[in-house]
């Protein structure tokens, strides 16, 4: 493993790999090594030693960090300023290892429950530095909140899983941490009714910042006996009290409503964020499916019919599913996602399955051709995480 301490180290490592035509596995702490497709690489290039916060300007709502900085370290720094990462990045229970880097979180564009109201990691990536597959240092964006100067390479790099370049520094928009959190709970609904209730919550004027449905088995994993449909409010304390009350009234037509105070709410939403409700067995696969919210229930039902378990976040728009890592199970998920006109990711699976299948949907041919040209423009030698996202 190569783990440089400065940007020049990344340049040198990439230059050498290009010269040797030796593909590199790009990672931070390796927590997502089991994600997406299996790769054949000669060496690992890690950001883990390139850590540290380079700029924190709370009154400008901006933080910059080298990409090897751990998520925990970044969040601790923000907590000192009473702030937090807006997209609420998850620390999935099924990750390998205890922590992940902020570079990895951005490169995978992973967001938590708050994404439904406040945007994804990619939405808050204001700037970055990266070393491309050409060994060149490229900056995009900056340290300001609004910037449309030139093509927005930040967006292209967020979610690119290290296939375009190695990000060395990221600048993120942050916001004040809410004073209080409240949750409204409905019990025992079916996925279909739950997704209607979530639509009512998200379509209400009360700034709902989380909207999830946990079927019974998922709810039991986090200490509830029946299925729960939950909506979250985060704001100043008085506002939370008021809005939780209003939302409860809106939800009364769906059943008996309970509310949770801040401490309980924070714990529950952390569990939802981190995929803790998934009953994952050793060797199981995990899928993530993004669909139009009203179609999430059908995805969950299709999975359930095939012996897969899961739950819904983002008002029904994000389904997590887990079950045996078989081709048949994979095809069930893919079929359900396709029928719902959504996208899917095979987040975790044993290497055998990950070698043989698509880990994300294939693009239409015209777009695939453009994608190949774009990727080649950053990594002409094809040495950065080759085949991680797409086989070709």
């Amino acid at each position: 493993m190569i783990a440089p301490e400065d940007e020049a180290g990344f340049t040198a490592a990439i230059d050498a790999a290009v010269a040797d035509r030796a593909p590199l596995a790009i990672e931070g702490l390796g927590s997502k090594t089991g994600f997406l497709r299996e790769m054949q690489t000669a060496e690992t290039l890690s950001t883990r030693n390139h850590a540290g916060i380079s700029l924190y300007a709370p009154q400008e709502l901006i933080i910059s960090a080298r990409t090897g900085t751990t998520l925990a370290a970044l969040e601790a720094k923000l907590a000192e300023g009473g702030q937090h990462l807006i997209a609420e990045p998850p620390h999935y229970a099924f990750l390998d290892g205890a922590d992940q880097t902020i570079g990895g979180v951005v490169a995978a564009n992973l967001s938590g429950p708050r994404r439904v109201a406040w945007g994804a990691m990619r939405d808050h990536l204001m700037g970055m530095r990266a070393v491309t597959g050409r060994g060149e240092v490229v900056r995009s964006g900056g340290r300001v909140l609004k910037n449309v100067t030139g093509l927005d390479l930040c967006k292209l790099f967020a979610g690119s899983y290290g296939t375009l370049g190695v990000m060395t520094e990221v600048t993120l928009k942050v916001l004040p941490k809410p004073q209080a959190t409240g949750t409204v709970v409905l019990y025992g609904l079916t996925p279909e009714v739950a997704s209607r209730a979530l639509a009512v919550a998200l379509g209400s004027p009360f700034s709902v910042s989380g909207a999830a449905f946990l079927p019974q088995e998922a709810a039991m994993a986090v200490g509830y006996e029946r299925a729960i449909t939950i909506a979250r409010i985060e704001d100043f304390a008085d506002s939370v009290t008021y809005r939780v009350g209003q939302l409860g009234a809106l939800w009364a037509k769906f059943g008996t409503v309970e509310t949770l105070e801040t401490a309980q709410s924070v714990a529950l939403w952390r569990a939802v964020r981190d995929a803790e409700p998934l009953p994952i067995q050793p060797g199981d696969a995990v899928w993530r499916v993004s669909v139009q919210p009203s179609r999430g229930a059908a995805v969950l039902d299709a999975g359930h019919a095939a012996g897969l378990f899961g739950y819904l976040d983002w008002g029904g728009g994000l389904a997590f599913l887990t079950g045996p890592a078989t081709l048949a199970a994979h095809e069930v998920v893919v079929g359900a996602a396709r029928r719902a006109k959504g996208d899917w990711w095979l987040l975790r699976a044993p290497p055998e399955l990950r070698r043989s299948i698509d880990a994300v949907p294939r693009e239409a041919p015209a777009l695939a051709a453009i994608r190949q040209r774009v990727v080649a423009s950053f990594d002409p030698a094809g040495i950065l995480n080759p085949g991680r996202l797409f086989a070709a």
Partner: protein, 456 residues
């Protein structure tokens, strides 16, 4: 915006005014969004900003108006929605007015177009000729089916016939000069612009105005020598004819000021009001410029006058009656009178609704619906499409042109002052459906709308 005029060109006072207007435009494009023709056809050339640009080019080059320039300027309704929208305060009205004169002077129109415009200018401003023409039109309607729908000429002929009322009224009370005495103590003395086409098409409007004002203690004068305000010829680019009308009116009302004094010159046709209020500019280079400015200052829409006189109803409308207020462009954009008519109708107790996009013209625009029947028809349909879902019992507005343009459906069109007069003791508008019919169409309690019912 940059302009390119030579000093020689700028010596022409008209060009100097145009230059000043063009310079105030910053080309931001806000006006495009509220322009009825741009919204309809989606072409910069049919937007205010595009027309300003076409005018700028025409004036800068000094060349005769080309066919495309005349085409796109002719398609402007002069609704002046752009002026309401414009943050820079561009005086589009005076720019397009002058451009129309330039087109009229320098552009050789096709013979049929020229002839039609001449006929309109020779007939519409004169009530007697207008009445004769309408009688002929009733006759013409019987042969409407024989007129082809293809080609501009056929479309225009059909448009004219469609706009003519079914039955032509006799001579109205305002066609001859006279004084209508105030009931009780006189609070004010005003001149009423008797005008031209309106009193032939719908004499009931003036009747209501006079009844209402005199009942409220106002003496109403129809001045000798006053006639058409000049707007019809003005918008056809026939500058001299328009000026002649304006001068005659200024002279007539100035005499009235000398004779018995005038507190206002009132109009119940908002299309005319816009021009009356502009007499100061129109006659700026004439010997009577000061008189003209004084008349312009005295000019008010009937709704403004009624607000000033603190109109109060004495009756309440029948239950269930819903009226749709249609804002005439000449009122809302030309004169910026937006609240007064609505406030009065509300005060009169009417349940009033407004369609979406109230700023968009209905396509009437003076003679526009005759000269541009296709575009006018599209705008009429659009307006009616926004009114229909409101299910009103009547469309109410302050300009006879709009009322004619929007008539012909099951919903009657009625002038604001007619409705106000009714609630103050005047006759019930005969176009309104009966109380029983109104009650029948309106369910006792409107269905409670749960907005989420539709999507959750």
């Amino acid at each position: 915006m940059q302009t390119n005029f030579t000093l020689d060109q700028l010596a022409d006072p008209n060009i100097a005014v145009a230059d000043k207007i063009l310079r105030s435009c910053v080309h931001c494009g806000f006006c495009t969004a509220t322009c009825p023709t741009f919204v309809t056809v989606g072409d910069e050339d049919d937007s205010p900003r595009g027309r300003i640009y076409l005018i700028k080019d025409m004036l800068e080059t000094g060349a005769p108006a080309s066919t495309p320039v005349a085409f796109h300027l002719d398609r402007c309704l002069s609704c002046l929605a752009c002026m309401t929208t414009c943050p820079s305060g561009v005086d589009y009205m005076h720019l397009i007015d002058y451009a129309r004169v330039r087109v009229e002077e320098t552009y050789e129109r096709p013979a049929h177009d020229r002839a039609l415009r001449a006929v309109l200018a020779a007939v519409l401003p004169y009530p007697a000729r207008m009445r004769a023409a309408l009688r002929a039109a009733s006759l013409g309607r019987s042969v409407r089916g024989m007129i082809g729908t293809r080609g501009m000429l056929g479309q225009r002929l059909r448009a004219m016939l469609d706009l003519a009322p079914g039955a032509v009224a006799g001579r109205s009370s305002t066609e001859r000069p006279g004084v209508f005495k105030a009931a009780g103590t006189r609070r004010a003395r005003v001149a009423l612009l008797a005008g031209c086409a309106q009193q032939v098409i719908d004499p009931g409007i003036h009747d209501a105005t006079i009844r209402l004002l005199t009942r409220m203690g106002v003496e109403v004068v129809v001045a000798k020598g006053a006639g058409c305000c000049g707007a019809l010829t003005h918008h056809l680019g026939k500058h001299d004819a328009a000026l002649a009308f304006a001068r005659a009116n200024v002279a007539a009302w100035t005499r009235e000021i000398g004779a018995g004094g005038l507190d206002a010159v009132v109009t119940d046709t908002s299309g005319c009001g816009t021009v009356l209020k502009d007499y100061g500019f129109l006659l700026r280079d004439t010997p009577e410029s000061a008189d003209a400015a004084r008349i312009a200052d005295l000019a008010v829409d009937i709704s403004e006058l009624l607000m000033r006189l603190a109109y109060q109803p004495s009756l309440t409308p029948p239950p269930g009656l819903v009226i749709a207020y249609h804002a005439a462009c000449s009122l809302q954009h030309g004169q910026r009178v937006t609240e007064a008519p609505k406030a009065l109708l509300r005060r009169a107790g009417f349940t009033m609704v407004e369609p979406r996009d109230p700023h968009l013209c209905c396509g009437s625009a003076g003679t526009y619906n005759i000269l541009q029947p296709e575009m006018a028809g599209r705008l009429r349909a659009r307006k009616l499409d926004t009114i229909a879902p409101l299910k009103p019992d009547a469309i109410v507005g302050g300009n006879v042109g709009c009322l004619t343009q929007l008539s012909g459906t099951a919903i009657p069109t009625i002038h604001t002052v007619v409705m106000l007069d009714w609630m103050a003791g005047g006759p019930r508008p005969d176009r309104l459906p009966s109380d029983a019919a109104i009650a029948a169409t309106r369910p006792a309690a409107a269905l409670a709308q749960d907005p989420e019912a539709t999507w959750s």
